[in-house]
């Protein structure tokens, strides 16, 4: 079975070889391509496979798995059709084939139960064959059945697959392929009567040397910028508890990762709204906010009630308890030595009225820096969606979400007003976020 699929065919049709053969009896192959809004997931059960190994020395095993690409389904018929015709060209290249030449790094020399290892072999797709290494786990059960699962990445560019322009507009450049398959031992008799394993010879004439190309070392991941803060109050009183709540994502509902501090500073902003952690908060500081006569334009009469509105609207919650409200109230009161008027919402409302003029007429390089300042408070570590995907969004869509214009459909995102995020800065950010040139790093960034 060395290297070539043709050998698989031979082995599968001729009966015997020193090593026992295992034929695929069930299983699923799935791929995922990241998209900014939704990942595209396709799967099929139409595959075939043969493994040749003895459990006593399984790392010497070889084999091949072939997938009928025309049977992949993603849930949308038109998309499936486009994928077959434009993207994978299944009429010319009907199958993808993973060939197993050897197993390296076996967790145990003999396969007695569960083991892991790394398949060294090649993957053929779209007429191109490339060396791959695929981490797998394998299990031999008491009844002599084998289950194999693994996962590997398929960069479209490596296989001359066009990054889809129409149908897959805005999708990633890599498919993550997973497989999970069951195999049963072939009876040791001439297998003529058995259903043949339908695997054909390679569709490419030249086979790349099996020598694996060195896997690229991953660039070191940038450390996540933390939201820096120190607790102002220690102890066990209401204001200290309120401050803990202020920094707690548990204050919100199920799935919430946001805290009050993601939107509000607790320090005086009169000297500037850029905090020490390098970010600007979308909403006003709570410093000196405690003595305002009313909140939320009159929809809340106390800071505690105002917090409850925030919790419902931005933290996936269903309202604070009275105890939580009063503790947050105590905290806000404690950082509000001075009197303050009610907020003027005219700026807020004005910001929610019109789309940005010439949204892509800014400076993308500047926009990237400004995005760190304004957006990364919440978006960089994937704390909130949609996926942070520069280069892949529509300008007006971004503006609509940032300014909370009609039809925004924000789930947690607050509105940035023109006072805190001026149009000129937003224009730079939108230019960066929507420029195709910005797209490359996205998927690297999201990988782990």
């Amino acid at each position: 079975m060395k290297t070539l699929f043709a050998v698989v065919v031979t082995l599968s049709s001729v009966a015997f070889a020193a090593e026992p053969q295992w034929v695929k009896t069930r299983g699923i192959v799935r791929f995922v391509v990241e998209g900014p809004l939704d990942d595209v997931i396709g799967e099929t059960r139409q595959s075939s496979g043969v493994l040749t190994f003895s459990p006593e020395a399984w790392s010497k095993g070889t084999g091949a798995i072939a997938v009928e690409l025309g049977t992949l389904r993603t849930g949308i018929d038109q998309r499936d059709k486009d994928m077959r015709v434009e993207f994978l060209e299944t009429s010319r290249f009907p199958r993808a084939v993973l060939t197993i030449d050897a197993i390296e790094k076996p967790s145990s020399p003999a396969l007695t139960g569960v083991a892991t290892g790394e398949v060294v072999g090649s993957f053929e797709l779209h007429g191109v064959r490339r060396a791959v290494r695929v981490p797998i786990s394998i299990k031999l059960d008491a009844e002599g059945r084998v289950r194999v699962s693994g996962k590997f990445e398929v960069p479209f560019a490596d296989f001359n697959v066009q990054r889809p322009q129409r149908l897959f507009l805005k999708l990633g450049d890599t498919a993550v392929v997973t497989f999970d398959m069951g195999f049963e031992k072939r009876e040791e008799k001439p297998a003529v009567a058995q259903a043949p394993v339908v695997i054909v010879a390679p569709t490419v004439a030249t086979v790349q040397p099996a020598a694996a190309k060195p896997t690229k070392p991953k660039p070191p991941r940038k450390p996540k910028p933390a939201l820096e803060y120190t607790f102002l109050f220690k102890g066990d009183d209401a204001k200290a508890k309120g401050e803990k709540l202020f920094h707690s994502a548990a204050l919100g509902g199920e799935g919430n990762k946001m805290t009050c501090f993601h939107c509000h500073a607790k320090s005086d902003e009169r000297d500037g709204i850029l905090l020490k952690d390098g970010h600007v908060r979308a909403a006003n500081t709570l410093f000196n906010a405690g003595q305002r006569p009313k909140f939320w334009g009159g929809f809340a009469s106390t800071a505690g009630q105002a917090a409850s509105i925030c919790q419902k609207q931005y933290m996936l919650g269903s309202g604070l308890t009275e105890e939580q409200s009063s503790q947050l109230q105590a905290f806000v009161d404690a950082i509000s030595p001075d009197g303050a008027p009610e907020l003027d919402y005219r700026t807020t409302y004005r910001s929610m009225e019109t789309l940005l003029r010439d949204p892509t007429g800014g400076d993308a390089a500047k926009g990237k820096k400004l995005a760190d300042r304004f957006c990364m408070t919440c978006h960089l570590d994937g704390r909130v969606g949609p996926v942070w995907a520069p280069g892949l969004y529509e300008p007006d869509w971004v503006v609509r979400r940032v300014r909370r214009l009609e039809g925004h459909q924000n789930k947690q995102m607050p509105n940035w007003t023109i006072a805190r995020l001026p149009d000129s800065d937003l224009r730079d950010i939108v230019t960066y976020l929507t420029s195709p040139a910005s797209a490359a790093p996205v998927f690297e960034r999201k990988k782990d």
């Binding site: 939320w296 009630q305 509105i309 419902k312 919402y345 409302y349 929610m352 509105n415």
Partner: protein, 154 residues
């Protein structure tokens, strides 16, 4: 608060999209031989509708069950749309410039309880202004059918 607004929108939109109201049977309170004026006029015109909406929004603002959605919205625009909606729905000389009820409320996860609360505030407001039972019934009758477009629970 958002729920409330929406419900009101709904009510109004329903009216607006309905065929031009033909004269309805006279309300119970009206003399049998009175000329049948449009609901808009019987409610007291645009000034009266604005007063009703203001009072109504005030009640919504104070109701913690529904006010959070309204608080984070564009309140002046909402008020304007509500007035347009009621005005147009009741046969007045207004054009509703907002979106349809389903679109406007999409994703807000409004519950039946919130919708009911909003209707309750509208009833309270209409009672405060001593709107006769007939007119009140007509107005609320426009609201009911919008429930399915606004509420997102079974």
């Amino acid at each position: 608060m958002r729920s409330l607004c929406f419900a009101v929108f709904t009510l109004l939109t329903g009216c607006a999209t309905a065929p031009a109201p033909k004269p309805e049977p006279a309300p119970v309170v009206a003399p049998a031989d009175a000329p049948k004026k449009p609901l808009f006029d019987r409610l007291g015109g645009k000034g009266a509708i604005e007063a009703v909406i203001d009072d109504f929004l005030g009640r919504v603002a104070g109701d913690e069950l529904i006010n959070s959605g309204f608080a984070v919205g564009h309140v002046p625009r909402l008020r304007q749309r509500l007035v347009e909606l009621v005005c147009a729905a009741s046969g007045g000389p207004c054009v509703y410039s907002g979106r349809d009820m389903s679109t406007a409320h999409a994703g807000m996860k409004i519950t039946h309880a919130q919708f009911d609360a909003l209707v309750g505030h509208l009833v309270a407001t209409l009672d405060k202004f001593k709107v006769p039972a007939g007119e009140k019934g007509e107005l609320l009758g426009l609201l009911g059918p919008m429930r399915s477009s606004i509420v997102e629970e079974p």
